[in-house]
Amino acid sequence: MNAGDLVDTGGSVNAGGSVNAPVLSVTSLVKKFGHFTAVDDVSFELMPGASLGIVGESGSGKTTTARILAGLEQPTSGTVALDGEVIEGHSRRARLRHARRLQMIFQDPYSSFDPRQTIARSIAEPLRLHAPGSRKEHQARVDELLDQVGLSRRAGESLPRDLSGGQRQRAAIARALGIAPRVLVLDEAVAALDVSIQAQILTLLDQLRRDTGISYVFVSHDLAVVRYITDTSIVMRHGRIVERGETEQILRGPQHPYTRLLLDSIPSPDWDLDRVVQDRRALDLR
């Protein structure tokens, strides 16, 4: 098991604050649900300020991977290390340390808020947990966060149901940023939004990454979105990583037939449905 090595490197690098140490490293992650293997030997690293895409169809294990990163699922085996420190234990301390480093944005921003709380109160809640301070300080921080994601104070005083999908996703991002995590996991974060709103959120995410140096793990089935928001990507199928590399390179010259299939499946002027079917058949025969 090389998890021990990772801890050691992380420890020494942490002290020095070197730029070359990964902020997130995932090693031989496996998740089984009964006999079904959802995630099969997945490993990757994420540098500070980098953005990694996890691409695949539904059922490819990408969401399960994201949920393991967020601590919502326990891996059957393998490790997740944040800042070189392997995540383990369920103590309150361990939970808070994990949360302070990694946050997650869900696909449906509406249901990720308590429907009875105003947006501002929902954003203030994790602040109270992670950054104890006076009511006034939290209020100021909430205003700052709302401003950072382009929401008005009035939007902050609204209930989740009174905001649009895009506004809610901005609010969800603000809430996550309040904890100042090093890594943000975005699970299909723009999939539920209109295309025009998607672009706005993606621009916002891009800008936030440049401003704060936060890292992204961007889980998506949408290759156009991944192309815009990520530097490197991994392609998952049946729980395994079938291709990895620079996002641009993967999309230009896919090596694995599955990646090619995904690319061919995007509707375009010269879209050839027969080829998609052929690709699929060839893939299933492998």
Binding site: A99, M104, E125, A172
Partner: protein, 289 residues
């Protein structure tokens, strides 16, 4: 024209939230009964315990005794007023206790899941299947008459009535994605349960407790009727009916019928109110989804 438009709008808004007449009547009656009990020393025309054998079994409308007197000549109206205190407070105690127990057990079962849920749920099923009156009578047999024992016994037998509903609502709410988002933010299970689950459970709890109040009132009146609850000479609707037994056989039913009528109206009012609260929660939930 400009004047009528806001008026129309106000009226249509009112129509949407209109409260049925029966509910208003029920609430009015309950307020009346509660006020009677609260202000009994001021309002009651006679002492509830003052006997007068010369004036026994007067029919309603008699001079100085609006609702007549019982077999020992005590004023029925005064006794109904003083009786409201015990007859309302005792079921209130039952409801508060069972609400507390039921909420705690329901939330615990819902959040813990697994074998803890199985044990708690089966436990509630067993208590639920056990007749509440029988349990109350057993407890009285062990601890002797008085109100404390039957209140505790009924509270235990009504706990599943509250606990099962709390559990199912908590399970439903617990699967909502925002619960997970709180876990990712590092919040503990207890905090999420009390801060975000409990507020969702409260409306159902109120509806269920209101219904339980009605049942408890009837059960306690029955216990008092059997001589297992309130001890004489304390006034209580159930014991008033009980003490009127011989008078009823003599063809003087009033001193028993009137407290019986008050019990009936109170329970019907409480049930109407409970159904209304439960119904409006259902409506709100279907709107909110």
């Amino acid at each position: 024209m400009t004047l009528t438009i806001p008026a129309l709008r106000a009226r249509s808004a009112k129509r949407r939230r209109r409260r049925p007449l029966i509910v208003s009547l029920a609430v009015a009656f309950l307020i009346l009964v509660a006020a009677m009990g609260l202000l009994a020393p001021v309002l009651a025309p006679h002492s509830p315990d003052a006997t007068s054998l010369l004036n026994s079994l007067l029919p309603p409308g008699a001079e100085g005794h609006w609702l007549g007197t019982d077999s020992t000549g005590r004023d029925v109206l005064s006794r109904i007023m003083y009786g409201a205190r015990l007859s309302l407070l005792a079921p209130l105690g039952v409801v508060l206790l069972s609400g507390l127990l039921g909420t705690a057990i329901g939330l615990l079962a819902a959040r813990a899941g697994g074998w803890a849920d199985a044990v708690l749920s089966r436990g509630m099923d067993i208590v639920f299947a056990f007749p509440s009156m029988l349990l109350a009578m057993l407890v009285v047999a062990v601890f002797g008459p008085g109100l404390t024992a039957p209140i505790c016994a009924l509270a235990v037998s009504y706990t599943p009535f509250v606990g099962r509903v709390v559990r199912s609502v908590a399970i439903q709410e617990g699967t909502r994605p925002y619960m997970e988002s709180y876990r990712v933010m590092g919040f503990g299970e207890l905090w999420v349960t009390l801060r975000h689950l409990l507020p969702n459970v409260v409306p159902v709890l109120v509806a269920q407790s209101t219904l339980a109040f009605g049942y408890a009132l009837v059960d306690l009146a029955a216990l008092s009727y059997l001589g297992l609850g309130v001890r004489p000479p304390d006034a209580d609707w159930g014991s008033m009916i009980s003490q009127a037994r011989s008078a009823i056989l003599q063809g003087e039913p009033w001193s028993g019928l009137l407290p019986g009528l008050v019990v009936l109206l109170t329970v019907v009012s409480v049930n109407v109110l409970g159904e209304h609260i439960g119904g409006s929660i259902g409506r709100k939930q279907s709107e909110g989804a």
